[in-house]
Structure formats: structure tokens, C-alpha cells
Symmetry: C2
Subunit: 133 residues, 2 copies
């Protein structure tokens, strides 16, 4: 099964020249070192896709210091975040919770959630959505 | 949303006295340090559940040295493994692949997969199944 990495269909700005996002295809199952597939962007959070089916989307959200994924929610989808590197805050309605590498959070369907890299280093988060959007 | 941790409905041996498996309930979303919820068993791989809905099962497989989750597959479900601690091997049909903390693997539906703790320390693996069994 071939699945593209680096998919970023939700970008609302053009990719810079040379930023070919479909170059990194994977056969599954294979051993994946997720940080090698991260897409770091100077302008906003970068997204990459490690696996996608109708049932499951496994991806990466890469935050340079200060970058944010604003509060949002998913109808009919549950989301898992696992912090691979760095630290920051999980954003929830009316509160925020510190997150560090090795910690995870589940946002069940319709629960607003987001992330801010409030640290001074890079923040890399594994994301799982079920079913895929 | 309350979800029990430590669920282990697939056990085929009685739990030892005092091993109440529903004691550790969580509200979601909350920050979870997964290793704190691991169920270690002397006799076989231990399972714990961190979150479960119809769409998504997030759990832990805990392997003492030498313990194995034999080759199996899931019809209509995709599975993600992420190695939290330790090292071992991902078992696939006709081959095995070394795994280390920080690495992940996706077994798409019907792809046989398993795990063996071939190391000398504990092996803890985050597991995600979509949809839930």
C-alpha cells in the first residue's frame, strides 16, 4: 500500500518552488522514524501525512516557536495527539494544558482543541484522526 | 467523556486478587502520560485502554522481556503501533523488523502483524485501532 507523505491539501498559500510534497512515498507496513517526515514551514504549522485510509489518518504537525493550530473541532471524528518532540500547550475551550514530549491527549468528536508552541524550540506532534477527514 | 483504563477484556486467565482493572478512569481531553497506565503482567503481554469509541481505540501493549503478541490481523481495521519505551521486533509474515523507542509502524487491514520483546528491558507500545474492534 503506497501512501504519500508530505500531503498538505489544506494549505491556503502556494508551496515555495522546489517544495515537492509528494516525493516521499511509503509502503506499509514499514518502520517509520516520524521526525524524518516532518514538514517545517517558516510561515505556519507544517503538515505531513504518514498513512491515510478511509478509517485512519496518521500525520505530523510541526510547529516552529510561536506557531499555532487554532481551536477547531471535528464532527464524527476522534483525534489523538502524541507529542514527539518539544513542549507547548494543548488549547481547549477556556483553558490550556501544558504538553511535553511523551505525553498524549485525545479530543473526542466535537471537542474543540488546538496547539500552540509556546516554547523556544521546535514542537513536533503525531496526529491520528479516525475516521480520516 | 469517561473511558476506563486498564480494560483487558481479552484476558483468558482470571485477574489476580486485587487487580481491579477499572479503577483508572479518565475524562477526555486530558494530558496523559501513557507509561503510568501500562499493565505489566508476568505471564503474558499486558493490555490497557486509554480511550475507546466506536471509531478509535487507543491502548498500550506492555511486554516483559521475551513476551510476544503473535502474528494476527484485523479485517476492516487499520492499526498503528508507536514504540514508547524499549526495543524489540515487529513481526510480519515471513520477516521481522527491528523496532526502537520513537519508531512507528502501520499495519493496514488484513496485514498480519505482531510484536516480540527480543530485548532485555521492558517494551511499551502505544496501539491505535480504527475503527475499534
Amino acid at each position: 500500500m503506497r501512501v504519500s507523505s508530505g500531503k498538505n491539501a489544506s494549505n491556503d498559500v502556494p508551496e515555495p518552488p522546489g517544495a515537492t510534497l509528494e516525493v516521499d512515498c511509503m509502503e506499509h507496513p514499514t518502520v517509520i522514524q516520524p521526525a524524518r517526515h516532518a514538514q517545517w514551514r517558516p510561515d505556519k504549522m507544517g503538515k505531513a501525512t504518514l498513512f491515510e485510509s478511509a478509517r485512519l489518518l496518521v500525520g505530523l504537525n510541526a510547529f516552529e516557536p510561536g506557531q499555532v493550530h487554532e481551536l477547531h473541532s471535528h464532527e464524527g471524528m476522534d483525534k489523538l495527539y502524541y507529542v514527539l518532540e518539544g513542549d507547548g500547550v494543548f488549547l481547549l475551550e477556556g483553558r490550556q494544558m501544558t504538553m511535553r514530549a511523551g505525553e498524549l491527549m485525545v479530543a473526542p468528536e466535537n471537542v474543540p482543541h488546538g496547539i500552540r508552541n509556546s516554547g523556544t524550540g521546535r514542537l513536533l506532534v503525531l496526529t491520528v484522526l479516525a475516521p480520516a477527514p
